[in-house]
């Protein structure tokens, strides 16, 4: 129950208070009702993480991209240094 996957905000109710703020989030096509009280700054189109019906954080697109870019470049440098035959011991992930 602590696991969550990112979903895209598709609608938000215009009226809300401290404990009720309904919206809808699509998880790869599966749409669920979500409470946005803890994330009132969310906007339609944002990617958010939802736990047991409550949106708790936005996915920061910039950070997501930076991490991937950094890891990708880190790999490039290493590939040059590591002779390929040494890699054979490891199973490749499918």
């Amino acid at each position: 129950m602590c696991l969550a996957i990112p979903g895209k905000v598709i609608s938000l109710e215009p009226d809300f208070d401290e404990v009720n703020y309904p919206g809808k989030v699509s998880f790869g096509g599966i749409v669920r009702e979500v409470n946005f009280c803890f994330l009132p700054e969310a906007e339609i189109g944002d990617y958010v993480l939802v736990h047991v019906g409550v949106a708790l954080s936005k996915v920061d697109e910039n950070e997501a991209m930076l991490t991937l870019k950094y890891l990708d470049e880190m790999g490039e440098l290493d590939d040059l240094k590591t002779p390929p035959e040494k890699l054979g011991e490891w199973n490749e992930i499918s």
Binding site: F27, C37, H51, S57, N91
Partner: protein, 360 residues
């Protein structure tokens, strides 16, 4: 799907594995606290791909596994009352209490509903004014905000027939307890990304300093897990110990202050019993006096529950990293997901279930 595929990219996974391999020179024990991460490591075959010098130890971060049998018995007893609808996450259903599980209570006539969110339980309370609705609030910091919200929704709309049976536990006191154990073998931690989504990073830096262990807040996808492991190993090899955040795309320094505020409004911290592990100081969330009418334990008065019986389950040793699930003599024989002896075999975050599901 966006933000999933990229973090499961096999080219990145292999680059990270190579980097880890070229960094590690000594043997290290790293604990991933969160059961969701245990499942990720096992499901994606990461444990077999890591260099043998790195030993992953599966921590107690399975909320269902650490919920005391007495509380499950309480939930069962409540569910068997004709005036009660007991609501729970599906994970809890097959976990054995001292005698039976909620699933068996259901077969005996208990009205038990499986929900995705406590907010649904508040709606059930609205629609069933003649019944008492009890939500079995199991979980770490991640699910606590939703439970606090459910209590406040009920409070705000004057609902009198809703209450929570709180089994909430907290991660930092568990890390503290693990490190205080003189027999501990842990050199570094992957901290649970989604717990920190709520709580932020503030509690972890002092832990890293006090126990001189690297702690890296980590996400759940293969790339996240491997980058987290790499960050821990890099610190260990350099003799450093501080807090780092691998899961920056989701976890901010302060977490979600609104959620923290609401949780603190409804709950207070006290010592709590962890199944298989024992009592850990200030590790549980209990409903505050102000909201006592929404606390199932107070509402239904003294419930006659027995202390946990002797059990053959070795869950405590599994969660403290003393044995791996297959080392338990009952693993896959007397204990299977169908006929579990202990909670870690049935929970979707339990280490025994992960090994059974993905390696058998």
């Amino acid at each position: 799907m966006k933000y999933l595929d990229e973090y499961r990219d096999s080219a990145l996974v292999n680059k990270l594995l190579r980097k880890i391999r070229s960094t590690v020179t000594r043997e290290w024990n790293i604990m991933e606290v969160c059961g969701g991460q245990t499942h990720g490591l096992v499901r994606h075959g990461i444990l077999d791909m890591l260099p043998p010098k790195i030993r992953m130890i599966h921590g107690p971060g399975c909320p269902v596994c650490v919920t005391p049998a007495e509380l499950i018995d309480t939930a069962i007893e409540l569910s068997l009352r004709s005036d009660v609808i007991l609501c729970s996450y599906g994970d809890m259903l097959r976990v054995p209490g001292n005698t039976i599980s909620l699933q068996q209570a259901r077969a005996k006539g208990g009205d038990i509903r499986i929900l995705y969110s406590p907010l649904e339980a508040v709606n059930i309370a609205r629609n069933n004014p003649g019944k008492e609705i009890v939500f079995f609030a199991v979980g770490f910091e991640t699910t606590a905000p939703a439970n606090a919200l459910s209590v406040l929704q009920a409070w705000q709309s004057g609902l009198k027939n809703y209450s929570v049976l709180s089994a909430h536990v907290l991660v930092p006191p568990a890390i503290e307890a693990i490190m205080s154990d003189p027999e501990t073998v842990i050199n570094g931690f992957l901290a649970a990304g989604h717990v920190c989504t709520v709580m932020g990073l503030g509690e972890y830096q002092p832990l890293a300093q006090r126990w001189k262990v690297p702690i890296v807040v980590t996400g759940f996808e293969p790339v996240d897990l491997l980058e987290g492991i790499l960050m821990v190993v890099t610190q260990l090899e350099k003799g450093e110990y501080h807090l780092e955040n691998q899961y920056r795309r989701v976890v901010g320094k302060d977490g979600n202050p609104k959620a923290i505020e609401l949780v603190n409004k409804v709950f207070e911290h006290r010592a709590r019993e962890w199944r298989g592990i024992g009592e850990i100081p200030v590790s549980g969330l209990f409903v505050r006096e102000k909201y006592k009418d929404y606390d199932a334990l107070r509402k239904f008065g003294e419930i006659n529950i027995q202390a946990e019986k002797q059990t053959e389950c070795r869950s405590g040793d599994v969660m403290k990293g003393k044995i791996k699930p297959p080392d338990c003599p009952h693993f896959g024989t007397k204990c299977t997901p169908e006929f579990p002896l202990g909670a870690p075999m049935v929970s979707s975050e339990g280490a025994c279930a992960a090994y059974y599901q993905y390696t058998q």
